[in-house]
Amino acid sequence: MSKERHVWLAMRLLFPPRDFPHRRRRVIGSIALVALVMIPLVLSMLFMDGMISAMTKKYVTLQDGHIQSNTLLPEDVERTLIDSVYSIDSVTVAYGIVYSRDATNEARFKGVYPSYFNPVRLDEITYEGTLLAKDQSLAPVMLSTTMAKKLKITVGDRVALMLVPESGNLTARPMFVYVSGLFDSGYRQLDENLVFMHFDDLAKTSGTTATKRTEFLVKEAWADELDSVIDSLKDTYDPDARYLTWESFNQSVYQNFVTSRQVILLVFVMIGFVAASYVASIAHEMVQDNHREIALLKALGASSRSIHKAFALVVGSITVTGLVFGITIGLAIGTRLGSMLSALAKADIPALRYYLLDFPVEISWLSLIQAIAVLLIISAVTVLFALRRIRKISVLELLQQE
């Protein structure tokens, strides 16, 4: 059977004449169902990838940096020696409690210099007030809007804070500070406890209670090459210092991300199997429906293999068309998820505090291609299995039936 014959037969199966509306409906229905499987798959992929990468970015930019060193770099050290590093910041961290007139809140105090709020970090927050600008005798602090809401305070209010010493026998001293600004990262889980203070204020107040570190933000292109960046840091700065990546500091968070991703991938694979079995059933139905035609083509000299190819082409075309429609619709809906999720985030629903709902939707083409490839591979195997029936269709059976 010639190549054109495959295509011709395949085209006839794909576009049945008007006299066969049920065949047309079946082709359209099959495409629609493959598309319907793909839409939630694409949406969940966008949601998962977007949220996890946005959460990671929040943790990296606001909580720990990509890499932390347990020592402070001397003030006079040249901080722009490594190409892969975007910024190097000295930070000090302490834990304690914030008191307002109406409420208290546990807090993780992070002492930073105003230069800490570089464009990358400012991209991750919205804020009102100032970024730790000192215009009173009291030390300025910057709380999250989440914490401010709980403490019922706003910009300009005073609050008391007490740092919890690392060793229990030291006396904790309360101090008054004023709220110079409120920030919102969009991720309530992170915002709930984070309080920014000026590095010098926290260092002075905490004494030996606070730990001093150096945070490194690496450039986007190096975000997946943290080990080699650490090697460069060791070579350039203190080879004896301990350098840790953000995952090490947030083991449980990172593990949750990994687990979530694995679970969702598992779900994808299962969806892939369901979709593939559906595609195989399309193939099976088509063979069943065209039993007579297949037998006749065989009688006229077409080989089983050539008929097999034509049917595989038809099922492949239906699957690919369904995939294209499903992905297009999924992406069209997915890229409009942002505004819907932002509205959800603003709704302040307690159950959603562990989710980051306000994130830019990024299309992970690699994940998408991988999911499609898995679906196509599973489908191809099941379809080839389903089309094996073509070989068994007997011309004699047809002649006896007729």
């Binding site: 054109e4 006299d19 065949r23 035609e293 009688a299 000299g301």
Partner: protein, 233 residues
């Protein structure tokens, strides 16, 4: 039967063909030691009662079925030992089938149905169309080229099937009760068309029919009776 045929003109020959079907533990013998040969341009009719094995013999001759014993030779090639791919190719090139119930593809137009064997053989639709159109015109279906078989009468469908059988210019036409499902008038018309085309195109014809009058139009006629072929009186 024309016994003066030359050995060199022999097209198809069946030697000691036997066919046995298994039905549980029982074996049912349908054909037993059948010998039949057809020369180039010859027409041979096989007649017999229902269930006598005529169609089985035809299917074996057309390589749609394999004999239990015996050999099928075509132009000196032993087809009994050929594999399925070879037999498919052989059928496409050398045999034109006309079935009792026409067996057209409903999704295709009359013209496309006639083109199908040529497309299977590797011709493009455009290359196949002129001959298909010419054949359909010759059987009086020039105005039915674009019609679906579902919109054609029984006689018209069978005429399309005849054109399809002739499409690849085969050496042998095999027709199984081609007029069996038609009324008297259509039956006569189709038989006339078939015989005239076979003569014009100089094809060999192996015809199975119940109708003795049609059988007598062939150059040789046999009766299949008690699993063997006998010349028809």
């Amino acid at each position: 039967m024309n016994d003066n045929r030359q050995e060199s003109s022999e097209l198809l020959s069946l030697h000691k063909i036997g066919k046995t079907f298994k039905n549980g533990d029982r074996s049912i013998c349908i054909l037993d030691g059948i010998d039949l040969s057809i020369a180039v341009g010859e027409s041979v009719a096989v007649t017999g009662k229902s269930g006598s094995g005529k169609s089985t013999l035809l299917n074996i001759a057309g390589t749609l079925d394999r004999p239990t014993t015996g050999t099928v030779m075509f132009k000196g090639e032993n087809l009994s030992i050929a594999d399925d791919v070879r037999l498919s190719l052989f059928r496409n090139i050398h045999i034109g089938f006309i079935f009792q119930s026409h067996l057209l593809l409903d999704d295709f137009t009359a013209l496309e149905n006639v083109c199908v064997p040529a497309m299977i053989a590797g011709l493009t639709m455009n290359k196949a169309k002129p001959r298909a159109t010419m054949l359909l015109e010759r059987v009086g279906l020039a105005d039915r080229l674009g019609q679906s078989p579902l919109k054609l009468s029984g006689g018209e469908r069978q005429r399309v099937a005849i054109c399809r059988a002739l499409m690849n210019n085969p050496d042998l036409l095999i027709a199984d009760e081609p007029t069996g499902s038609l009324d008297e008038q259509a039956s006569a018309q189709v038989a006339d068309i078939l015989f005239s085309l076979v003569q014009e195109e100089q094809k060999a014809l192996l015809l199975v029919t119940h109708d003795r009058q049609t059988a007598k139009r062939c150059s040789a006629a046999y009766l299949l009776h008690n699993r063997i072929l006998e010349p028809l009186a």
